[in-house]
């Protein structure tokens, strides 16, 4: 008895110290990690003159001298700024247009590959057809092909098909580049769904299509959501594919191109870049947090006895 009463507090103290150290290390890493982002955020609210003459940390060091403004955001979004004439024509930043363009690119580029890949993954996982394995290996092997080397051949085909500079062209390109990973991820998930479920559904009178829509899609939400986040972030942040297949005209420019443009030829306008960067971050954050709740573990719980 005595040994246990003695041992318990000591063990607890050691445990507390360990936990404490873990927290300290985590806080230090987090601070390192978010400092640049905080700097960017602070800068985005500072007037252009301040940004150009002093560092963002002066706000922290001399809080009483700090000045804040929303002008950077107004300029970037093309909103009127009090006391100044609204910009028109080429001087307009046009981040709002770029946001819409990017959504036009990113949403279909996320949904199309998910649909195709889910069908394909189901086929690879559960439908027996000759050459299934070879085909699957072929698809997965495409994961190692860097997309850069396929840009020129695809662009030449697009020119022949008159798809260059169209949204359809970008959607198809993103779809193609995203499919190998999508098929692989979804295959891994769908193939772990217990066989009994399918067989039970077959006996219940389901066709492959009903099984797919009524069982596979609802049961695969975690995998679909995780891929959707990957693919959305990737297409949202993409510069290269959009530049090559959509072009750089202001009418079709995506956010990343616009941000690059904001920097100005000599980098003289980077106070606008800070605001633009934060605006471009909002949408991915919304997507991430709205899909994150689908990462529920144990969605299969209760279907079969483990």
């Amino acid at each position: 008895m005595t040994t246990t009463t003695l041992a318990t507090p000591r063990r607890r103290r050691r445990f507390r110290f360990g936990t404490f150290m873990v927290y300290v290390v985590m806080i230090i890493i987090t601070l390192f990690w978010i400092t640049p982002t905080v700097g960017l955020l602070v800068s985005s609210f500072r007037p252009a003159d301040d940004v150009k003459t002093s560092g963002w940390w002066t706000v922290v060091i001399n809080p009483d001298k700090a000045r804040f403004t929303l002008d950077n955001y107004r300029t970037v979004l093309g909103l009127p700024i009090p006391g100044r004439s609204s910009p028109t024509g080429s001087s307009r930043v046009g981040m709002d247009v770029a946001l819409i363009n990017t959504l036009t690119v990113a949403l279909p580029s996320t949904i199309i590959p998910i649909l195709i890949a889910a069908f394909a993954a189901y086929g690879f996982a559960w439908i027996d057809f000759p050459g299934r394995r070879a085909l699957f290996i072929l698809v997965v092997a495409m994961l190692v092909v860097p997309l850069q080397i396929s840009l020129v051949p695809i662009l030449r085909d697009y020119v022949a098909l008159q798809l260059g500079g169209t949204y359809l062209g970008v959607w198809l390109a993103h779809t193609g580049f995203g499919l190998p990973l999508a098929v692989y991820l979804l295959y891994n998930y769908i193939s772990t769904i217990p066989r009994d479920l399918f067989e039970s559904a077959f006996l219940d009178g389901a066709t492959h299509f009903t099984i797919f829509t009524r069982l596979i899609l609802p049961l695969s939400t975690p995998a679909l959501a995780s891929f959707a986040i990957f693919q959305f972030l990737w297409t949202w942040n993409d510069l290269l594919v959009a530049l090559v297949f959509l072009g750089a005209e202001p009418r079709v420019q995506v956010v990343t191109q616009r941000l690059l443009g904001l920097l100005g030829q000599f980098g003289q306008e980077w106070h606008l870049l800070t605001a633009g960067a934060f605006i471009s971050m909002i949408v991915p954050l919304i997507v991430f947090f709205s899909l994150q709740r689908f990462f529920v573990r144990g969605l299969m719980a209760g279907s079969v006895k483990g």
Binding site: D196, S200, G302, V304
Partner: protein, 368 residues
């Protein structure tokens, strides 16, 4: 309502033959249990009937209809899986209604059938729950309910009780039997558990290595096993087997296991064994046909007696299991609880030779 016929069915997976010339007739309304050790092909036989596996050769009939090439959904069968295979994202109600919805049964009819089945299985209060909120026994009932609402011609069950704890298993066993009496539909039930087979089946088919060994009523299977495998598989504790010689002794024929282990063959069995006199055979006797010499039931001939050393005694309350030994052969007896068998002592064991079994040494087929 339908009879079932397996007509010379073969099933191969690559080089492995799982079903070898399975020939089976199952009457309408029968409760047939397919039993055997794991890998004997019993589940495959069931899956072939369900249409989940294509058969390599032969035909399968449900009623008069040849269903060999009919897809599973059109075979008018329902199956209960070992894992239950409930749809995890659907409520109990939707799980049960799924098959009917796919068959475009009118909504009111679906509702009526689901509620009726739920009532029958006393899961009416669970209809809104998801499977993960149910206990093992409740899930099992939902799986049964899903089969019942379909009102199929044949119920197939693939080890439906093996995931339940022992008490629930016994209870559900009785409920499935009741269900069969109530529905009067053909049931085919796969299990590796011979107790389940004995208690539930109107007939039992014993399988081994893809070959049907014997099909008969539980009692006949127990009393008259066709071969050593069936004799050893059915019954617990298992039948005792001895390698022995049939020899002519003064006044008759005896089973000679060892020098001090000679048992006279009763007159009623002489005809069966006469062809094997002078040959080595396998002699089999069930543990309950051995008796403590002090407590021999009336009518049992006490002359077939052997003195044996007691190795282990297991009191079960209503009886005693004793592992005893003579001539280097250990065997088990189920003795009267008053028996004086004590570990390390010797006792006299009486063999009820009217209940003996003799098997051919080569074919392992029963002679008696």
């Amino acid at each position: 309502m339908a009879s079932i016929k397996y007509d010379h069915v073969w099933k191969r997976f690559g080089d492995v033959t799982v079903l070898k010339n399975l020939d089976l007739d199952i009457a309408d309304g029968e409760f047939l249990v397919l039993v055997g050790p794991s890998g004997c092909g019993k589940s495959t036989a069931l899956r072939c009937l369900a249409g989940l596996e294509e058969i390599t050769e032969g035909r399968i009939f449900i009623g008069d209809r040849d269903v060999t090439d009919v897809p599973p959904k059109d075979r008018d069968i329902a199956m209960v899986f070992q894992s239950y295979a409930l749809y995890p994202h659907m409520s109990v109600y939707d799980n049960m209604a799924f098959g009917l919805k796919l068959r475009r049964v009118p909504k009111a009819e679906i509702d009526r059938r689901v509620k009726e089945a739920a009532e029958m299985l006393s899961i009416g209060h669970l209809l809104d729950r998801k499977p993960k909120a149910l206990s093992g026994g409740q899930r099992q009932r939902v799986a049964l309910g899903r089969a019942i609402v379909r009102d199929p011609a044949v119920f197939l069950m693939d080890e439906p009780l093996s995931n339940l704890d022992a008490k629930l298993r016994v209870q559900t066993r009785a409920e499935i039997s009741k269900l069969h009496q109530r529905l009067k539909t053909t049931f085919i039930y796969v299990t590796h558990d011979q107790t389940e087979a004995m208690t539930m089946g109107s007939r039992i088919a014993v399988m081994r290595d893809g070959i049907l060994q014997q099909i008969d009523t539980p009692q006949n299977l127990y009393d008259h096993p066709a071969n050593m495998f069936v004799a050893g598989f059915i019954g617990s504790p298992a039948m005792n087997f001895f390698e022995a010689r049939l020899e002519r002794t003064d006044g008759g024929v005896s089973v000679v296991v060892g020098k001090e282990f000679v048992l006279p063959v009763p007159a009623s069995k002489l005809d069966h064994v006469s062809s094997h006199i002078g040959k080595t055979v396998y002699f089999g006797i069930r543990p309950e046909d051995l008796h403590d010499a002090h407590f021999v039931p009336r009518g049992v001939d006490e002359r077939a007696k052997v003195r044996a050393a007691v190795n282990v005694v297991e009191p079960m309350g209503s009886e005693i299991y004793a592992y005893v030994e003579n001539s280097g052969k250990e065997f088990i007896g189920r003795f009267d609880p008053r028996s004086s068998a004590r570990t390390g002592h010797t006792m006299e064991v009486v063999f009820d030779m009217e209940k003996m079994h003799i098997f051919d040494r080569e074919t392992e087929k029963a002679l008696t």
